[in-house]
């Protein structure tokens, strides 16, 4: 069996506003559009992946928050309605997706063998979190690829950014090893925003773009710095600066997804492609792609 591989790693933020603005038939609320810069960014990412051969999407979402280890969905068919508890007016999405339980369990087992606290989620009533659904939908709206859904262990809340990163680095290595042994080609999604300070009011309609902007100049500076580090292949520096980034930009990478992604890709020195940047209710969001499939050709 040929070795499996990560064909692309993506920073794929999950604000439900993007699905709302796209008006897919699975989502009940409808809009007049909005957040086009980001939605067109996702279009560019989809175009970039259009001809790429891959088997499964592996996603880590900060909206499946677990405090007792890292969890993996272990139910093959998940079908229900996802309602965002924060923005229920925007996101009530009927989903019907397939989990690659075999790969999920392989990553689980590998991480466990490395000493991590892990658990398979096998309750058929479990509802998939909206972060996972939004990121996967924006990357692959056809829903024709199975996914692996990984929870966000809140070790930063319990310990520190350093402990969170240590754990996510290990989880990334375990993910990469399990993928390699599986023989599957995978797209990895870190489902998080960058700066994450919200506005606490909502415009009417929510898609009124005349009111959308970053919450503060400081948040803008942090977002641009992180994007530039990604664009220039300085992954290790991102990891080094993560404590300050999480603290000062209230960054959603505190959930570990970005560190996990960088680790799984081997902390790449290759540049990432910026497909789009925009703010959503004040938070900073970038759609980035590391085209790992091309690195062997260089």
């Amino acid at each position: 069996m040929a070795k499996g591989s990560i064909v692309a790693g993506c920073l794929a933020p999950h604000p439900p506003h993007l699905v709302y603005a796209d008006n897919p038939e699975q989502n009940e609320p409808v809009s007049e559009g909005g957040w086009e810069q980001l939605r067109w960014g996702y279009e560019r990412l989809r175009e970039s992946l259009k001809d790429v051969d891959y088997d499964v999407i592996v996603v880590l979402s900060p909206h499946w928050q677990t405090y007792v280890g890292t969890h993996f969905i272990g139910v093959e068919k998940c079908s229900s309605k996802s309602v965002d508890p924060v923005f229920p007016n925007l996101f009530r999405f009927n989903y019907d997706l397939t989990i690659d339980v075999e790969l999920a369990r392989s990553i689980h087992d590998q991480a466990k063998s490395e000493g991590m606290s892990v658990k398979m989620m096998e309750n058929p009533d479990f509802r998939v979190d909206y972060g996972t659904i939004v990121s996967c939908h924006m990357v692959r709206p056809e829903w024709d690829k199975p996914i692996v859904s990984i929870s966000s262990n809140r070790s930063l809340s319990y310990y520190s950014v350093e402990v969170m990163q240590e754990m996510m680095m290990e989880l990334g290595r375990s993910t990469a090893k399990a993928i390699e042994e599986s023989g599957k080609k995978c797209v990895l999604l870190a489902s998080n925003s960058l700066s994450h300070r919200h506005f606490v009011t909502e415009t009417n309609p929510p898609e009124d773009m005349s009111k959308e902007h970053i919450t503060s100049h400081a948040m803008h500076l942090w977002d641009m710095r992180m994007i530039e580090l990604m664009r220039s292949g300085k992954s290790q520096q991102i990891i080094n600066e993560m404590p300050e980034f999480c603290d000062q930009a209230i960054a959603e990478s505190d959930g570990g997804a970005l560190t996990w992604l960088l680790s799984a890709m081997g902390v790449p020195t290759q540049p990432a492609t910026l497909h789009g940047y925009g703010t959503i209710i004040g938070t900073g969001n970038a759609i980035m792609e590391w085209p790992c499939r091309k690195w062997g050709e260089q």
């Binding site: 309605k81 309602v83 508890p85 924060v86 009530r92 606290s117 070790s155 004040g282």
Partner: protein, 462 residues
């Protein structure tokens, strides 16, 4: 009508006491305590359960559940292996909508939610399943805003109390929360469960000592310290104690009973019942400026064109300290006068009030919004919110005089726009003073000194 809080509860959010109490003696004791709390509620004349859940975080202000019958299957994010809870809840939607309006009147960002499939949080589901099986009593559920501070949380409680009093509810207020919230980060066997650390246990014991003495406001004042000491920094802090204390008029002399205190996967889980009867010790000792209206600056979005947002007045006539003349009745709970006169004057067994408007004491803001901007351009405003605020101000002045709304005998009302506002004003009147039955005269006038739409002149008995 005299609505009130007849009991306040602190209960843990974890699913263990609901799904598998038999696996651990401590979990069973929490379940037994839940059952005892349920029994106490059933024996009371409670007609509403109000849930403030730390497990329902919100960003856009506070959210209030307004689906009359939320139904789904709840599975805990961490403890999914314990099983599922099929819930079907009965929500008091009238109360939910009224609370939402009251929040907005007091300057809060607030909205109701009513959507099929909305994921009611595990804490609310567990609490209502155990305290109110079969939905004997309607409930209302409110989120915890991740950014809210003490003032905002206090005002949230005050607006809730506004509605409890308006509707004459006998309410049970429930904070769904852990004490120390640090759980073990590894799976454990049920028999291994204990409070995560000795330090957490000691703080929990101290909190429960205070609560057993009815010193709820003291816990509210220690909230930030407690959060620093024994709380994992999740998103919502230890603010439910602010809410619960404000729901009890920030009192320190309640009657408290700790029904159980145990560990659930390392976190401090307690069932505590607080009753309004005074235990005779302690008294209210509020450590920060009390606040009736939220005038925070968190509205980062430019919402200056929001038409009914309450704004403090930045211009207008000068304000005076109320005149301390013969038989004067003055209070800092009413807005400052716009001239040299007292809030009221007592003559014999009658009390004559100066004209009372809706302005709020302290920040001078106008619930329902001003009728015009600084440039004199007309603004949309909420006459009902303004009228309610007038009645509230009258009540505060009468209370200072040793009287109450029940003793009002004659009212002269002034409206600046009779055509637009009479109906709304009249509706609030019927809900409030109309039930007391004073004589009333309503006049249309051209203007009032501040940008308000309604003012009342009141005569009452002592």
């Amino acid at each position: 009508m005299s609505g009130e809080i007849i009991k306040s509860l602190i209960v843990p959010p974890h699913p263990h006491p609901a799904l598998c109490p038999e696996k651990n003696e401590g979990w069973q004791r929490i379940r037994d305590a839940y059952d005892e709390a349920r029994r106490q509620i059933e024996e009371s004349d409670a007609d509403l359960i109000i849930i403030y859940s730390t497990l329902w975080p919100s960003v856009i202000g506070h959210q209030i559940q307004a689906d009359p019958n939320p139904e789904w299957v709840m599975v805990d994010s961490d403890f999914h292996d314990l099983g599922s809870i099929h819930y079907s809840l009965k929500i008091d939607t009238d109360f939910a909508h009224a609370w939402n309006k009251a929040n907005i009147s007091r300057g809060l960002e607030s909205r109701t939610v009513a959507y099929d499939g909305f994921p009611v949080d595990v804490g609310s589901v567990v609490a209502l399943e155990l305290l109110n099986p079969n939905n004997r009593i309607p409930a209302v559920i409110c989120s915890t805003n991740v950014y809210s501070n003490r003032a905002e949380t206090t005002v949230l409680a005050k607006s809730c109390m506004d509605v409890i009093k308006q509707q004459g509810k006998k309410a049970v207020a429930v904070s769904v929360m852990s004490l120390s919230n640090r759980m073990f980060t590894e799976p454990i066997e049920p028999h291994e469960d204990r409070i995560h650390s000795l330090k957490d246990d000691e703080w929990n014991q101290k909190i429960l000592e205070f609560l057993s003495e009815g010193r709820l406001e003291d816990i509210g004042q220690l909230s930030r310290t407690i959060h620093d000491q024994i709380r994992v920094k999740k998103v919502v802090a230890f603010k439910p104690m602010w809410w619960l204390s404000a729901m009890n008029d920030n009192r320190n002399d309640l009657t408290g009973e700790v029904l159980a205190y145990e560990a659930i996967h390392g976190a401090g889980a307690a069932v505590v019942v607080l009753s309004p009867e005074s235990n005779g010790t302690g008294d209210k000792e509020y450590d920060e400026d009390d606040v009736d209206f939220y005038g925070g600056d968190r509205n980062v979005l430019d919402s200056s064109d929001d038409e009914t947002v309450n704004k403090p007045l930045n211009s207008g006539p000068a304000l005076y300290d109320p005149v301390e003349g013969k038989n004067a009745v003055n209070t800092n709970k009413a807005p400052k006068p716009v001239g040299a006169y007292p809030h009221a004057r007592r003559e014999g067994d009658l009390i004559y009030l100066s004209g009372v408007g809706p302005r709020q004491p302290g920040d001078n803001s106008i619930p329902g919004g001003p009728i015009k901007d600084k440039a004199g351009n007309p603004l949309n405003y909420d006459i009902k919110a303004q009228t309610r605020a007038v009645v509230d101000n009258i009540a505060r002045i009468l209370e200072e005089a040793g009287s109450s709304l029940d003793n009002v005998i004659d009212v002269t009302s002034f409206l600046v726009d009779m055509d637009r506002d009479f109906s709304g004003y009249n509706e609030v009147w019927a809900e409030t003073l109309g039930k007391v039955g004073p004589t009333r005269t309503t006049l249309a006038i051209r203007a009032l000194p501040t940008p308000i739409a309604v003012e009342m002149k009141v005569i009452a008995k002592v």
